[in-house]
Symmetry: C2
Subunit: 312 residues, 2 copies
Amino acid sequence: MIVALAGGVGGSKLVEGLAHLVSPPEDLVVVVNTADDEEFYGLYVSPDLDTVMYTLAGIVNRDSGWGVEDDTFEALGMLGRYGEETWFRLGDKDLATHILRTRELRQGKSLTEVTAGLTRRLGVRARILPMSDDPVRTIVQTPEGEVAFQEYFVKRRASDPVVGVRFEGIDRARPTPQVLSALREAEMIVVCPSNPIVSIGPILSLPGFREALREAQAVKVAVSPLAAGRAFKGPTVEMMQGLGYEASSFGVISLYCDFLHVALIDESDAELTPRIQELGIRVVVRSIAMRTLEEKVALAKAVLEVASLGRG
Amino acid sequence: MIVALAGGVGGSKLVEGLAHLVSPPEDLVVVVNTADDEEFYGLYVSPDLDTVMYTLAGIVNRDSGWGVEDDTFEALGMLGRYGEETWFRLGDKDLATHILRTRELRQGKSLTEVTAGLTRRLGVRARILPMSDDPVRTIVQTPEGEVAFQEYFVKRRASDPVVGVRFEGIDRARPTPQVLSALREAEMIVVCPSNPIVSIGPILSLPGFREALREAQAVKVAVSPLAAGRAFKGPTVEMMQGLGYEASSFGVISLYCDFLHVALIDESDAELTPRIQELGIRVVVRSIAMRTLEEKVALAKAVLEVASLGRG
């Protein structure tokens, strides 16, 4: 069994590659960040869960990496006519997901149960697990004050300097039993190339999660989300700098040094190898770009081959 | 002040005509049936309120008489992909209304407050009042058993013989204070040409409503929904026959005989005049078809002129 820890778009690309290789499909378990979740119009929206689900269902919008392909925005336009804010671009097809999720949560199901149901109904056989059934919300601290993550990321287009990040509710949240069980049973745990602060960060910050990771018998591998100090997507570099971390593959991997065995970094970062090795982490250098399905599958294959290197 | 009692499509046509004549617009109050309301996907849908609201906002689908013009069905298609039933055709723009209504009801607002807010935000100045803030549900009794109204009407296309109708919850429901106040203050109360059994019926069946109607000082006028024994739309004739009523304008007007002063019936029903007069009700004979805006306004004008005839 392979367990992948993932946020949204970047993580989903590697997950898609893994899904092409792992057999049976149920042996791929994706533990997904839920600290980006937000209510819009009374509907429970879980952007990272949806991105992973739509990607594995083969219906993700390939241009943006999120949302449903060929979606329309008629409901959103009408919400605007009612005077509602419409900066979070919920498509019509996408709304169906949020409507059903909200209904089922209100019926008393857990987010884990709801996600399993939605996923199954879209024909996805890999298991998608929310990191927690408890509410956690990423709050971004800017010089002008605190803003909720989606407001920072979408409404304000990640344009504010970030001076801090906190995960509201994290102290009372727990990883789900399903997540802890997957970590125990995994042969390999893969930290996807997602933002280490706001995508992987909340997962690792769940009380008990890092301990469970350290105790897990699996080979633990991370793929860097940066190449030559630049992110493939999103404000990873700006956030790391704002929080005082080195905005490089070394900086990212150092955040995982208490549990990681192997790091996959880009060829452009080859010179960081000795510094990462000094953290006691093996390094595999190769191209980590995932522009095409072929590149996603090739990177996933490289990740899986790492398992044969062992924990060395 | 003019108070109109209305169901969905038929009633909305006369309401549209009245809205072109009543000034200031706030002097038109529409009391709307809510016994057709239903939850779909956890969203609170109020078909008659919406039809009246969309009509007065000028955005109703003119072809069907209900729903929003130029609407699309992408969310519904996706709900189908999730395996949900999709026989109730909720459009994408229409969904925005249900999403907002549901959110605001869950926030603890009454249906009256929510409707006032939605209506105002669409620029409608006439007052649209749900008949009650309490849940009432029309149940149709067929030879095969009971079905909820929307299932009978939409899913089964009104194809079952109707042997009975009951309004679940009606004994515990009350007209709202706003409705009772409007009845007291009205100069004219108009029963729109809506289905007398399932559209006007629930309104009149609310405990205290008929008494309030009888006590109201207004001139009370009804427009028949039938002409020559045929309905302009919907299963009015079949329902009346199934319940043992004469399926004619006489049969409809007789349901209102305890409070009505004047009946407007179609030229094709002129021979019913003496029988209606015997109920103590004045009769105005004219064309009651409302195929065009001009016909709607002309019929509304005829209704308003009735006021000058007094309670006679």
